[in-house]
């Protein structure tokens, strides 16, 4: 296929690449619009467009009268893999980097007849499962879509909360079944169509797919979540230790 994206997109991608490769370091000033226009022999408006998109997407920031700078990793949400970090995760982390965090509930309710999920939660197929599907936003931009399932029997009134406002973990904690230990799995996958729509990206775009199973203090499985997370907005950080 010989399709070539518009010049401003080519420029945008090359700047992103330079940030990824570390050629432009965090808080470093990038060449001015005039310089780039000259360098690539392109229209200054084209450069301006590319820069504007990158500022909007959080790769760059401007200081009036000085220039345009690389925001580096700072605007990317750093998700840990430890339970408290990863799972209290997205909204808390978003707030920490100064983003406005919000959620949209796309589905909540009790479901039944989902054998794979029953198995994951170690339940009988006939048992009720409470399902909560949410889109997580930072500064009004979608970051992640989360599919959470918890055993209905332990959380009979789960349906009464508004999870755009109330934290699911606060509620689970009130019920004395807060997950405290997590089994986790992280992959990079192509985003399926439906999730891509919610995340406002093209289907097939690489996303983090993060699955975790949470156990409460007594070791009982109280949560299974699968979440698709935009990779242009987040990084995962972890520490690993030598093993024999």
């Amino acid at each position: 296929m010989n399709y070539r994206p518009p010049i401003y997109m080519q420029l945008r991608d090359s700047i992103i690449k330079k940030i990824e490769d570390g050629e432009y370091l965090p808080n470093e000033m990038i060449p001015s619009e005039r310089e780039m226009a000259q360098l690539y022999d392109i229209n200054r408006m084209t450069v301006k467009n590319a820069i504007e998109v990158l500022v909007r997407d959080g790769y760059l920031y401007r200081i009036q009268g000085k220039g345009t700078f690389v925001r580096g990793e700072k605007n990317k949400l750093l998700l840990g893999t430890a339970g408290s970090e990863a799972n209290y995760g997205i909204s808390a982390r978003a707030k920490k980097v100064g983003m406005k965090a919000s959620s949209k509930v796309i589905f909540h309710g009790f479901v039944q007849g989902y054998p794979t999920m029953s198995q994951r939660l170690r339940l009988d197929v006939a048992d009720q499962i409470f399902a909560l599907h949410r889109v997580r936003y930072g500064d009004e931009q979608p970051l992640a879509i989360e599919y959470t399932y918890i055993p209905g029997a332990l959380f009979e009134d789960a349906d009464l909360n508004d999870y755009a406002q109330v934290s699911l973990y606060d509620y689970m904690n009130n019920k004395n079944h807060l997950p405290v230990e997590f089994g986790q799995k992280l992959m990079v996958v192509g985003c399926p169509q439906r999730e891509a729509g919610q995340l406002e990206i093209d289907p097939g775009t690489a996303v983090f797919c993060f699955e975790y199973t949470g156990r409460d203090r007594s070791g009982r499985i109280v949560e299974f979540t699968r979440t698709y997370i935009r990779t242009d907005k987040t990084n995962f950080r972890f520490s690993s230790y030598r093993s024999e």
Partner: protein, 233 residues
Amino acid sequence: MKGITLDVLIADEIRSQIENGQYPEDSRLPSERELCDEFSVQRLTVRSSLQILKYEGYIYSKNRSGYYVAKRRITKNLKEFRSTTHILELMGKPSSITLLQFDKIEADKKLAARLDIPIATPLYKLSRLRKLEEEPISIEISYTFAEYVPGLEKFDFTSRSLYAILEKEYHIVMDRAEQEISVIHANEMESELLKVDLGASLIKEHGIVYDTQNRKLEYSENMMLMNRFVFIK
């Protein structure tokens, strides 16, 4: 079922069948018609389930002959710090290494910032291409402080892991790593070596490795095929 559509439910069912090893790698998945019978649903539903799994890289299609199960992902444990060679040996899948570059270099501004050292500090740069069953799976680049490992160039990095050499020959023992995982887009070199399209998404795992004396010893950067790895904890 309200909220959870049948295609999602069936995709999840097939996904866990694949994960549980019910279908071997590269084996043909039952046909759409067979899956319709198995789950008692319409063809469109099954088609949509397969589409989900195709996007996620669990299955692939081959010249209209149906869907096949993708290769199993290599499991990397996020808590345990282990060489990839060792992980693959444990999986019974020995990998081969091609040496791309081994040079003594001076730290540029990026490396200086990462390792917290002055610009031009001498480092050994080691880049390797790892193949599994003849297929390239990752490019592994490592920058080690030259001061700690004089004469590193004498050793053969295709048959031994860097960490094994450091331990055996220099008595330097790796202790822990602080790493980050992000997604990047393949540049020309990466796309050529890993046989992916220019701009294709790759996993980048990068970080600092500390030795038992808590010294920053190495900065490593691995560019990995996105559908060949899974990280667990």
